[in-house]
């Protein structure tokens, strides 16, 4: 095993399947960051936990191993495994569950409590990913996919009306993203990416896949928020691929940071990508042009710069990562029942 940059670990009370930072909020003290974690595969109750990270004043940092202090501020039971999680605005947390339903939790600010609000049961199989319509109108619209290969579109304020695309994919879907208001992209175990038009979602308007690795199922998707035609996907064979939706014939860039299944990707700072994997490591890749220039200088030929992070004692899977761009903080969670934290430069 190569030398790994170490991560700060913290006991997380359960196998984590998802970690998410709350959107940075003006209302809170800027030194405080909130994030949520969700567990899976628990015997009785899976739990959703809301954490608070508080920056330790610089003068005291020498005394502690990590420059943030963390606290659990709320914990609620969650029906089924937590499969995906997304903060909506300031105070709502949307989760999808392996039982096939979506839940909305209200994180009440004053008491710092999480409260169960509503759930939408419209699935026959485990729900996996979900995406929120960007530039949304007041009633948030949500796209949700499941292992049954269905795509469901609905408004969060109106539980009775939803649109179901039955044959979105013949295989189970694992991730969905909504880069622009009329375009939805799904990915799943078939290895295909499918683009749906929001105005007419019944038939995919484009399908594409990585012809170099057919049947390599895709686990996750992420859209570059500044350039919505750029998508990153992570596959079961450990490939991280950047796609350009304007040119679907082949992947734009690809790297192979993990030997084992790559599980989640996060795109940060233009074309630098974070990925985590079943092998218990986090990879940081830089697909940027300046990195490509470096390649021509001999030693780095044919390889995209990959930095690996891992906690020395952990080689159980890391299931999810998230990055806080303001605090420059990376969190990860996995089957080792630990929360991993790292400040990136």
């Amino acid at each position: 095993m190569p030398d790994l940059e170490s991560l700060y670990t913290l006991h997380a009370y359960g196998k984590l399947s998802k970690v998410r930072f709350a959107a940075s909020q003006q209302a809170y003290d800027s030194r405080i960051t909130l994030f949520a974690t969700g567990t899976w595969d628990e015997k009785k109750n899976n739990a959703l936990t809301l954490w608070k990270l508080e920056e330790i004043p610089i003068s005291l940092r020498n005394l502690v191993p990590f420059s943030y202090e963390n606290k659990i501020i709320a914990k609620v039971d969650h029906k089924g495994d937590v499969r995906d999680m997304q903060f909506i605005g300031d105070s709502f947390l949307l989760t999808s569950s392996s039982k096939g339903c979506l839940n909305v939790f209200n994180c009440i600010k004053s008491e710092r409590q999480t409260e169960h609000e509503t759930d939408f049961e419209n699935k026959s199989a485990a729900a996996t990913g979900m995406a929120i319509k960007p530039f949304g109108s007041p009633d948030t619209e949500i796209a949700s996919v499941g292992e049954d290969g269905r795509l469901v579109l609905f408004k969060i304020t109106d539980q009775n009306h939803y649109q179901v695309v039955d044959d979105a994919d013949a295989s189970g879907l694992r991730a969905v993203s909504w880069p622009s208001s009329d375009r939805i992209i799904t990915a799943g175990s078939s290895g295909q990416l499918r683009i749906f038009d929001y105005r007419n979602p019944n038939k995919p308007c484009a399908k594409f896949y990585d012809s170099a690795h057919p049947r390599d199922s895709l686990n996750c998707l992420k859209v570059n928020s500044s350039q919505v035609h750029q998508i990153v996907s992570g596959s079961s064979q450990g490939f991280v691929t950047i796609w350009d939706t304007r040119n679907l014939s082949r992947p734009e860039k690809q790297s192979h940071p993990h030997k084992n299944s790559g599980i989640a990707v996060y795109l940060y700072i233009s074309l630098a990508v974070l990925s985590c994997s079943e092998d218990g490591t986090i990879g940081i890749m830089d697909f940027n042009a300046h990195a490509e220039n470096l390649r021509h200088h001999g030693s780095l030929r044919d390889s995209i710069l990959i930095r690996k992070l891992g906690s020395g004692f952990n080689n159980l899977a890391i299931n999810s990562i998230d990055y806080h761009p303001v605090a420059r903080l990376l969190i990860g969670g996995g089957d080792s029942q630990n929360l991993l934290l790292k400040e990136l430069e």
């Binding site: 006991h11 196998k15 015997k43 175990s189 290895g191 159980l316």
Partner: protein, 719 residues
């Protein structure tokens, strides 16, 4: 079979069956004596011949032991098993049953079994279909849940780092975790809801801690300079004081023990004698206190200087003893203290209540500079005087002191599986634990067995520990991590057990698959996904052509029966390459054929059809369909005045047609045509079917005629 003595009673931690019952044992109305031999194998789990399983009317599964009727564990089914009170169980021929999980004796499955009597089913006149009745998975070892974070934190993932970090660091990491757990348990003890479970867990962990610490003192090289003399006796005394605290006793015997244990509390005790009116003895006691204070310390002195000082100190004690002679009441008492300080063996062993105390006393007072090797001799002296209680802890400690590591670990297994696994792992890395013979040498001589392989203790313990986790709903991944560290049998354990982990959705299935991938297993599990596409992809990846064949036949049958092609959309989302199995490739090409035909590209469709015919992949029952597929192409071609099939192609089709309708395959062909007739009708736009496929023959003949005309009109024919 266990490598350890199968006759040793109580080999496994006697899982304390401490669930409080809400029902009397008399409520149990059905007793199922286990038929499986598993119950009777002593080395398989915590059940022996004395245990049996009962299922009560409220749906509680109870494991009972005959030895003591109140010694049973009650598991409540969750959710409660509901059944209609009116149902007469004997009438419906049903009963509640229970079976052990094949992968672990700690798991139990409860279910309703038995079926309706046959006569009853006939009366209704149709097949009785029952809904699935709920299965209950119960775990007999509930203790685990509480221990999870401990087990998580102490897993062996340290193989690669072992070289860079000192083993002793890892060892003390474990120590810290154990004592943390003990502190936590003690915290729980002080709360109101004290359960026996917590007490027994606390006992277990205290035992674990004392074994762990003793082994650290004896076997693990210390972080400081090792050749520090006197370090060993100091550590040993510390260990005894920590792990075997002084019980409450009367004044004098407590004082003796405090002296024995080198405790500074002894001084306050002595001072209290002066305060409590013993003023007339104050001179003597002050002398004793002076002696206690002037005891030479190993840490402050060089070796030879220490010996000199100690010599002086000992003679000072004997001087005092002579001085005290005949001084009345206190003489005996103080003399005893001085005898202890001089390290008089008999006095020390007499005053101690346990052998551990005696060991500490002797080492501290008699041989303060001794090292590990001498400990055996000292223990031998003690064991002549003192009896040990035959607990697992005592046995283990004694064996470790005698440096019989293998035997010690066997006793550890009785304390807790965690201990035996982790201790043997670390000691193995120090080359202290090797292999033992699975048969005793006596047996070997008797049966002349020499080929029986030896057993690696470390691996045996690790496997045992890991196996206990396999059936746990959350910790199963850890179990596989442990298996990965077992070089000899780990692989086969993984391959056997990975297919027995239940999963509900793809997510968990993928986790299992990645375990297989990580261990290079050719994926054994037939992951039956609800969706065919996922299944096909899994099967392709697993190289399971047999299962693929089944799906492939299912698709073809579906087409023969209905004429619908919807299923083929499934194939669309699977990317194929050269290495893909033929059956799936066939389906993919066949789908392409229909798509082309639909789009009117009949020329290309014809080419693909010929390719499919020549490949000879389709099962014989599908041949008539393939051949019939040529018919619309021929008709379409005629209408458009195009030649779809060349003379050669036509002959090929005709030859196949002849084959299919010949008597060898006649039956299959007729059966197929019969099934086709359901939808292959004129109303649906198809031509009439007969058993010789006359319409097709006619079309083919016309086609060959057309070909001939076409060819003959070319100038080439005249040459």
């Amino acid at each position: 079979m266990s490598i350890f003595d199968p006759d040793s009673k109580n080999r496994l931690p006697s899982a304390p069956f401490t669930f409080q019952s809400t029902l009397n044992p008399t409520d149990v109305d059905e007793i199922a004596y286990p038929q499986s031999t598993k119950f009777y194998k002593k080395d398989e789990g915590s059940f022996d011949a004395e245990s049996y399983l009962t299922v009560s009317s409220t749906g509680d599964a109870v494991v009972e032991q005959n030895v003591a009727i109140n010694n049973y564990q009650k598991i409540h089914l969750n959710p409660l098993f509901m059944y209609d009170g009116d149902i007469n169980w004997s009438e419906s021929n049903q009963t509640l049953g229970a079976k052990f999980n094949p992968s672990s004796v700690n798991g139990l499955m409860c279910y309703v079994f038995g079926k309706e009597p046959k006569e009853k089913a006939e009366k209704v006149g149709e097949e009785m279909i029952h809904q699935d009745i709920q299965l209950y998975m119960c775990s007999l070892n509930d203790l685990m849940d509480d221990r999870r974070s401990f087990m998580e934190a102490t897993r062996v993932d340290r193989k690669d780092i072992i070289r860079t970090i000192k083993l002793s660091n890892i060892y003390s990491d474990y120590s810290n975790l154990i004592s943390k757990r003990i502190r936590r348990l003690e915290g729980m003890k002080s709360k109101d809801d004290i359960s026996d479970k917590i007490y027994s867990e606390l006992d277990t962990f205290q035992d674990i801690f004392s074994v762990w610490e003793l082994c650290r003192i004896i076997y693990i090289p210390s972080k400081q300079e090792y050749n520090q003399f006197g370090q060993f006796s100091h550590e040993l005394l510390k260990w005894i004081n920590h792990c075997f605290p002084l019980p409450d006793e009367f004044f004098w015997s407590r004082l003796y023990k405090l002296i024995l244990r080198g405790s500074s509390q002894a001084k306050t005790y002595l001072e209290s004698i002066i305060k409590d009116g013993g003023a007339e003895f104050s001179d003597h006691i002050k002398l004793v206190l002076d002696i206690l204070d002037s005891r030479p310390r190993t840490t402050e002195l060089e070796y030879h200087e220490f010996n000199l000082r100690r010599h002086e100190w000992l003679s000072k004690i004997s001087d005092l003893q002579t001085k005290l002679r005949g001084e009345g009441f206190l003489e005996g008492k103080i003399n005893k203290i001085l005898m202890i300080l001089r390290g008089h063996t008999k006095t020390i062993t007499d005053e101690c209540s346990t052998w551990q105390e005696a060991l500490g006393g002797l080492v501290y007072h008699r041989r303060p500079t001794c090292d590990v090797q001498e400990l055996e001799n000292i223990l031998n002296v003690i064991l002549k005087e003192k009896k040990t209680c035959n607990t697992a802890l005592d046995d283990a400690l004694i064996q470790f002191i005698f440096r019989k590591v293998e035997k010690g670990i066997q006793h550890c297994e009785r304390i807790d599986l965690w201990l035996s696994a982790h201790l043997s792992d670390i000691l193995n890395k120090l080359d202290l634990v090797g292999r033992i013979n699975s048969q005793s040498s006596h047996q070997k001589k008797k049966f002349n067995i020499t080929t029986q392989p030896d057993v690696d203790i470390r691996e045996y313990c690790l496997l045992n520990y890991a196996e206990s986790m396999v059936s746990h709903t959350t910790l199963w991944q850890l179990a596989f991590k442990y298996f990965e560290h077992c070089e000899i049998c780990g692989y086969s354990y993984i391959s056997q057990l990975v297919v027995r982990i239940p999963f509900e959705d793809e997510y968990k299935a993928n986790k299992l698959l990645s375990i297989c991938k990580h261990n290079g297993l050719t994926l054994q599990e037939k992951t039956i996904s609800r969706r065919y596409a996922s299944a096909i992809v899994y099967f392709i990846n697993a190289g399971d052509t047999a299962s693929l064949e089944v799906i492939y036949r299912m698709f073809l049958d579906y087409y023969i029966d209905t004429g619908k092609l919807t299923f083929l959309d499934t194939i669309e989302s699977i990317q194929l390459d050269d290495a893909s199995p033929v059956s799936i490739k066939f389906l993919s090409r066949y789908r392409l054929f229909h798509a082309l035909k639909q789009n009117g590209e009949i020329q290309r469709a014809g080419a693909i059809l010929m390719e499919l015919l020549r490949a000879q992949v389709a099962p014989i029952s599908f041949w008539p369909v393939l051949l019939l597929n040529a018919l619309p192409l021929l008709q379409e071609g005629k209408a458009r005045k195009m030649i779809i099939f060349s003379t050669q192609d036509t002959l090929e089709i005709l030859r196949n047609l002849q084959d299919v309708t010949s008597f060898v395959y006649q039956d299959e062909c007729l059966a197929c045509i019969e099934r086709l007739k359901k939808w292959h009708t004129q109303e649906n736009g198809y031509s009439e079917l007969d058993k010789n496929l006359t319409a097709l023959r006619l079309a083919l003949l016309q086609n060959s005629a057309d070909c001939y005309i076409e060819n003959s009109s070319s100038p080439w024919m005249f040459e």
